[in-house]
Symmetry: C2
């Protein structure tokens, strides 16, 4: 098995690579597991040191659109012999709102080029495309387009951000490339991933991690929305487990070529803060700045809170049990990032 | 008012141009009518003689993608001062199934280039995009994606042809360009247009016209599907009336940025044949060849029959009353194409 991960040096990409490499084998289309021979991490940044030290890992550093352009030796990012592609690379929502052309290039043109390169292999590789909850844009002022009470796998997405539009277009391209037999497509809509370690990024959803991560590091974390804001989220570990499983589904298990909603823990920002307090004490919640930001609030308000994931559950995927567990997992997995004195367990 | 029509020398494009020119004025965003100063017909073919003879008409002949590429004097197909664009040009469904790259270029890349050129004007032109009923692809073998009983403006499209995918992606691009304020977008899903005059084209739906047009010309016409096949159709005249009205809707009337379903007359192929018989006699229906074609049948079976058009009806658009009326209209509008001796009225 030769696996490519775009965005492979990022947080999710690197964690996915580690999980796949630890697993050692990969069941293509639910066949018997074959050993993973190579994992190619394509990213603007080099692979983290632990991954670079694995003999099976190769790092390809550069602009994704450049690396997807066919050259004399084929397409650098999708080499001959590629069996599986996890396409995680993307410009995030805040960036795409600020710079329309950046989003069209990094999300739409890159996805088209990636699918074209996969088709050119002629071997029907499996492609896992990470779409997003952000395809669902709730509209609150149009009687002809009432916001649905619950989002299911069959709900009409009406994206209200360029990022959401580009992801939804990616789902359509994936479906048609699959129908034509060019690839074996698996489009999944990731929930908001929380708690992400590291630094804030340009995503409008960045605060869903920052409001927990920053207080645990002893610094102030902003929450730009009100406590009653609903959020459909998943922990990093649960998100990666889903991606690993879905890459190995058979065509029959997978079913329709449309995207599926990954399992979501539906909670509120206020309950997230409470869970942080339960695990890390009042000192942690005191570090949350409830500072409204109208730009962020408007984007987040257009994202649905109540999400159902019937197809994902049919594949055996489950949501995280509660946010307290997610906070405890974050603390256990990122001891170096915890500066706040925690209450004794 | 300066109006551009892509596909402007085609059947629908030319008829749209004639109707607009006869109307003389155009109500942009429902403002007071302004005189139509120019109509630019962009097509691979030159404008029909009657249109070319109108001093307000200019014909731009060539490959649409070439004509949408920015040159030293701007984009030829979208000149400075363009107020309204009707984007009708497209490769049709059968062609796009046979040649994937052709569809991606003619439908997806051309639509992207057109929207980009409209944005570059910096004047927020009105763009009417003719999407299609073909975005709705019914799937009959996937329990997770049951075919809906009725298609509404809110039904999730799951296209089962490349043409349908490309049109649905066009709708998404239209929505985001509108949201960003680059254009005033109006995406409409045309029903199957019947009866089209002229020759068969590469569309899988071509027979919906040919099975009436050919017998009326005294030659055999093929019907590749069974009589009980449902079809949601509209006459040429009704289709054009809808496009003329929709180009002049205000933003408030238009409502959501999603596409709307044009009004449909829901009937069956068998009832279409009966209506032909009622108007043109047994001699006409005897000329229909009921010859099943598995390729066509498979595509048509994935198109929905029962279609509702709440938003279009809210704009005052109505469906054709019955297929008999459509056949009579065709005969009246195309006397030169009727060779069969018709029963006395």
């Amino acid at each position: 098995m030769n696996i490519v991960i775009t965005g492979g040096a990022g947080f999710l990409g690197a964690r996915l690579a580690r999980t796949l490499l630890a697993q050692g084998g990969f069941r293509l289309n639910s066949a018997a597991a074959q050993p993973i021979r190579s994992v190619l991490l394509v990213d603007r940044a080099p692979a983290p040191a632990d991954l670079a030290a694995d003999a099976r890992v190769r790092s390809l550093v550069g602009d994704l659109n450049d690396l997807l352009a066919p050259g004399p030796q084929g397409v650098p990012a999708i080499p001959t012999g590629t069996d599986v592609v996890y396409h995680l690379a993307a410009a995030v929502s805040g960036e795409c709102e600020a710079d329309f052309d950046l989003g069209m290039r990094s999300n739409l043109a890159a996805t088209e080029a990636l699918l074209s390169a996969c088709r050119a292999l002629g071997t029907q590789p499996t492609v896992v495309f990470t779409s997003s909850l952000a395809v669902f844009g709730l509209v609150h002022d149009q009687p002809a387009l009432p916001p649905p009470d619950v989002i299911t796998d069959l709900t009409l997405p009406t994206p209200q951000t360029s990022y959401g539009i580009q992801k939804f277009i990616g789902e359509q391209l994936m479906a048609d490339y699959t129908r034509k037999g060019f690839i074996r497509g698996r489009s999944v809509r990731l929930m908001t991933v929380s708690v992400r370690p590291g630094k804030p990024n340009g995503a409008a959803s960045s605060f869903f991690s920052g409001m927990v991560r920053e207080p645990l590091a002893g610094v102030r974390g902003a929450c730009p929305v009100t406590p009653d804001t609903l959020v459909a989220l998943a922990s990093p570990g649960n998100t990666i487990a889903g991606l690993v499983r879905i890459g190995q589904t058979s065509d029959a298990e997978w079913g329709p070529r449309t995207a599926l909603n990954m399992p979501a823990l539906v909670t509120t920002v206020g309950d997230m803060a409470k869970a942080l307090g339960t695990v890390a004490g009042q000192a942690a919640t005191d570090l949350i700045d409830w500072t409204p930001d109208e730009n962020i609030r408007r984007i987040v308000k257009s994202w649905p809170g109540r999400v159902e994931s019937a197809r994902a559950r049919g594949l055996g995927l489950t949501s995280d049990p509660d946010f307290e567990t997610i906070v405890r997992d974050y603390i256990r997995e990122n001891p170096q990032a915890i500066t706040l004195a925690l209450p004794k367990a």
